[in-house]
């Protein structure tokens, strides 16, 4: 039996199981999305709404549920190896996400922050009734980002692509200027400020030894790590020892970061499995 045959049988078996579960689920919940109308909008209905007789199966959302489940399985199929199912899902995610971010950028940034500043009257009549139609005194300045934006789009025209360097330079320059101040304030200064903690902590009953140890340990650890990052002097003698301790702290930090990252990914995985088992196939512990 060839590999292809085995996979075909497995996939057909999965499809058959999914359909049989959908057909014979006692609560008629598997593979279906129920909706009810609330103030004219169709929202997800729960079991109570179904028992009350006000919910109905939504065909477009049911189709969506199946598509989401199939896409999820397609992505998981990459764990075996690259395959056409994965590639279809991958191509879809590229197309949908590019368009999604374009639409979000258009409606949440360009319309309210650019067009509404330049032509408030038109935008108010068209898409933002709550906007004042009066142009702000500073509104005319927004012609600058509009021109820079058009210059940026020149990148699509090969002979004119050099023009896009100007807005790019604006982006780079403003990012450098804004980030420099922001990082100095938020990271550099505030991190140093927060590290000024008492090495010996006094309480009403005397010295809090545990808190004092924690504070001292933390400050020694920070300084040791900084010594390790200080490459202007050679790490030997006492400096090498301190730097070694700094490496140990950094290793433990990386270990903690790694642990948290793995936990985060596993949580995401659990959510996807929950989607497949509970939302799609309605398989629950009770």
């Amino acid at each position: 039996m060839t590999e292809r045959t085995v996979w075909t049988i497995l996939i057909l078996a999965m499809i058959a199981m999914a359909f049989s579960r959908t057909m014979f689920d006692p609560s008629q919940s598997a593979g279906r999305e129920y909706v009810k109308q609330v103030d004219g909008e169709w929202v997800k209905a729960d079991l109570i709404d179904r028992n009350a007789g006000i919910a109905e199966v939504s065909y477009d959302r049911t189709a969506g549920l199946w598509i989401a489940a199939v896409f999820t399985l397609c992505i998981f199929s990459f764990m075996y190896r690259d395959n056409p199912f994965y590639k279809v899902a991958e191509s879809t995610v590229v197309g949908v996400s590019a368009a999604y971010y374009m639409v979000v950028g258009f409606w949440s940034t360009l319309v309210p922050n650019l067009f509404a500043k330049l032509m408030p009257g038109v935008i108010q009549q068209w898409a933002m009734p709550g906007l004042s139609p009066e142009i702000e005194p500073t509104g005319i300045y927004y012609i600058v980002p509009l021109i820079l934006g058009i210059m940026l789009l020149m990148r699509l025209v090969p002979s004119m692509s050099w023009i896009s360097l100007w807005p790019l330079a604006f982006i780079i320059g403003t990012t450098a200027g804004l980030r420099m101040i922001a990082y100095l304030e938020a990271d550099f200064l505030s991190q140093i400020e927060n590290s000024f903690v008492p090495l010996i902590v006094f309480t009403e009953t005397g010295i809090d030894y545990w808190q004092s140890f924690q504070n001292t340990f933390m400050i020694v650890s920070i300084l040791s790590c900084l010594v390790y990052f200080f490459f202007s002097i050679e790490h030997k003698g006492a400096v090498a020892g301190v730097s070694k301790f700094g490496i140990w702290i950094l290793m433990m930090t990386f270990g903690a970061m790694f642990g948290m990252t793995v936990m985060g990914r596993i949580a995401l995985l659990a959510i996807r499995l929950e989607f497949l088992f509970r939302e799609w196939m309605n398989i629950r512990p009770y």
């Binding site: 109308q37 609330v38 004219g40 909008e41 929202v43 079991l47 109570i48 028992n51 009350a52 959302r61 999820t72 992505i75 998981f76 764990m79 991958e90 879809t92 995610v93 197309g95 949908v96 590019a98 368009a99 374009m102 639409v103 258009f106 940034t109 360009l110 004042s132 139609p133 940026l152 699509l156 090969p158 692509s161 050099w162 360097l165 100007w166 790019l168 330079a169 982006i171 450098a176 200027g177 804004l178 420099m180 101040i181 990082y183 991190q191 927060n194 340990f217 650890s221 900084l226 433990m252 930090t253 270990g255 903690a256 970061m257 642990g259 793995v262 990914r265 995401l268 995985l269 996807r272």
Partner: protein, 614 residues
């Protein structure tokens, strides 16, 4: 030139922003630059989309390897983009549609002279150095002579928000008094108040509900100007349009509300309404279902017995849950407390003109409020007893308690309003029963069909009636801003592509990393030396400490050794070691950012300009 200009742009923009951050008057430049940055980032997404389309269309047209996948990318991209940009299937924003109101186009310039209100004043001209609020900019103007404001002018009626905006412009009493006088002058006449208003931002004269003949005559008599008469004609025509809407049998207790009797005709399967239905009218039409009231012990027991007697019965847990929920309804004591709160007399805030008069009379210690002259009204024993007895009596009409309460003791209009407001906030019996049904099926318990019917029949009726009345409201409404809906409104095609394609695909992609991180860790993390051991050990403790089993493992340790319990070790690692390491890394990163930024701004690092070979 091609490379020098970008270098100069980057350097000037960056250095100017750094300098402005240290000058208080120019700090906002940074915020403006951040907005411009966002705009360019949004345009960069368009650029990204354009590039994507260009590359994949070329692959499709060349039929190069994998062109079918490129076709999928192009199709999904164009579909999502189309439905998102054109807001397909999205209803107008319900909060921006002015349901229940009819608009007639009328610009501020078309406002009749009769509605131009002038107030002679004598105010310092520098008061108007401040920017006039956007809400009144079209209607408000001043006349200035010799650095003195000699006249304030307002075109059209002034609403409460506009009055407040103008008052907020300055705290000086002479200004505020002038605005109060102007607001009184430009106030909408009593005959039209609450019905007609002018919305300058929408360039519209608006009427709520239906314009009656008296209001029409009054409106017409304001001015003979052509534009005003035309606007009035339009309001009359549109606000008296009849909407016919098919309905099922109304709820048993439904009666057309008295205040809308002249606008509604109810037939067997139809409801005809004159003019547009607004949210208040809809609320009055759907407010026909009985509301909950406190249950006595016997009533609770009777309810539980009745439900338990139906096929399927109830478990002890379900009985307790039902009784608990019935007892957690509102109580008579809560109502009494609300009425006593409403009986506290409020201080009256003095107007700016009163304060100005006091100041001009020589008063130096100005009091902003006038204390109440009469004592507070607290419910007496007879009134409290009456409330206690009435609320649990299912035959009594709670909203009619007002008449008896006012005869039993002191009673204020504010308390009457508080009573109605309190009763309005109590849930309806169908909604209470829905809550009970929902609570009874949690934890794997179930109910029989008869029990569901007992609990949910009223909910079904209430829901269906509410939706019919909503349908009536929408049908009687003329859409004013069809593009005002949220671009990602639930149920729209764009929402669909986000919910069923974008979200599951991206989440699954990231979740897949769990396997790869684990597999990479297995291959790469060998405890070859002490540092690697520390990394592995810490990761192991963190992973284990975040699981139920990990905590269980060390839960047997005695109190004296509690510091070695896994959750405490995890906490120590996260709060001390991880904080210390991260702090050092962040300090390093910030120094790195500063040096990189300086290199870019000074033109040392020019990598962003590319190789120049393009």
């Amino acid at each position: 030139m091609r490379r020098t200009v970008p270098l100069l742009i980057a350097a000037i923009c960056g250095i100017v922003l750094i300098v402005t951050a240290f000058i208080p008057a120019t700090v906002s430049w940074g915020e403006t630059a951040a907005v411009w940055f966002d705009i360019l980032a949004a345009i960069a997404f368009i650029l990204g989309g354009g590039n994507l389309l260009k590359i994949h269309l070329r692959r499709v047209s060349d039929q190069s390897e994998g062109w079918a996948y490129s076709l999928i990318t192009v199709v999904t991209f164009l579909l999502t983009l189309g439905v998102g940009l054109f807001k397909l299937g999205i209803s107008p924003g319900s909060d921006q549609e002015f349901y229940g109101e009819t608009f007639a186009h009328l610009t501020v310039e078309q406002m009749p002279e009769e509605l131009t209100f002038d107030l002679p004043v004598s105010l310092a001209a520098e008061l108007l150095d401040e920017e006039i609020p956007a809400s009144v900019r079209q209607q408000f103007s001043v006349k200035i002579e010799d650095k003195t404001v000699t006249q304030l002018r307002f075109r059209g009626w002034m609403n409460g928000g506009q009055r407040q905006d103008l008052l907020n412009l300055h705290q000086k009493l002479d200004w505020q008094c002038a605005i109060e006088q102007l607001a009184d002058l430009a106030a909408i006449p009593d005959q039209l108040a609450g019905e007609v208003r002018y919305l300058p931002d929408h360039r519209a004269l608006s009427v709520s509900g239906s314009l009656n003949e008296e209001e029409e005559t009054f409106l017409r008599n304001i001015s003979d100007s052509q534009s005003w008469q035309r606007a009035t004609d339009r309001l009359v025509e549109r606000s008296r349009a009849v909407t016919s809407y098919p309905i099922s049998t109304p709820p048993e207790s439904f009666l057309v509300p008295q205040s809308y009797e002249d606008r509604i005709i109810l037939t067997e399967n139809n409801i005809d309404v004159i003019g547009p239905v607004g949210p208040e009218m809809k609320a009055a039409l759907v407010d026909v279902f009985p509301r909950t009231r406190p249950f006595t012990e016997e009533q609770v027991q009777q309810y539980v017995d009745e439900l338990a007697a139906l096929p399927g019965g109830l478990t002890d847990v379900q009985k307790n849950t039902t009784a608990g929920l019935l007892k957690s309804d509102w109580t008579a004591d809560q109502l009494i407390a609300a009425l006593n709160d409403a009986g506290v007399r409020q201080e009256r805030t003095k107007s700016a003109c009163e304060l100005l008069a006091e100041m001009q009379a020589g008063e130096k210690n100005l009091q902003l409020t006038v204390p109440p002259t009469e004592p507070d009204v607290t419910l007496n024993a007879a009134q409290e007893d009456y409330i206690q007895q009435t609320v649990s009596n299912s035959d009594s009409d709670l909203s009619a308690m007002v008449q008896t309460l006012s005869t039993l003791g002191d009673w204020l209009p504010a308390q009457e309003a508080a009573l109605q407001s309190f009763l309005q906030k109590t849930p309806t019996i169908p909604m209470r029963n829905r809550l009970i049904a929902s609570a009874l099926i949690t934890g794997g318990e179930t109910l029989s069909e008869e029990q569901f019917e007992f609990l949910l029949a009223g909910y079904r009726e209430q829901h269906n009636w509410q939706e019919q009345m909503y349908g009536l409201m929408v049908k009687s409404h003329q859409v004013k801003y069809p593009w005002s809906g949220e671009y990602i409104a639930v149920g729209s095609p764009f929402w669909w592509s986000y919910e069923y394609a974008f979200k599951p695909l991206t989440a699954t992609m990231f979740s897949l990393l769990a396997f790869y991180v684990a597999s990479a860790a297995f291959r790469a993390f060998r405890a070859k030396n002490f540092e690697a051991l520390l990394l592995l050990g810490t990761a192991f403790i963190i992973l284990l400490g975040r699981t139920f089993a990990g905590v269980m493992l060390t839960s047997g340790l005695p109190e004296s050794l509690s510091a070695f319990r896994l959750e405490n070790i995890t906490m120590f690692i996260m709060s001390i070691i991880n904080t210390a390491g991260n702090r050092a890394i962040m300090i390093g990163i910030s120094l790195g950012i500063v040096s990189t930024s300086l290199k870019i701004l000074l033109g040392v690092d020019r990598s962003y300009l590319g190789s120049g070979d393009e």
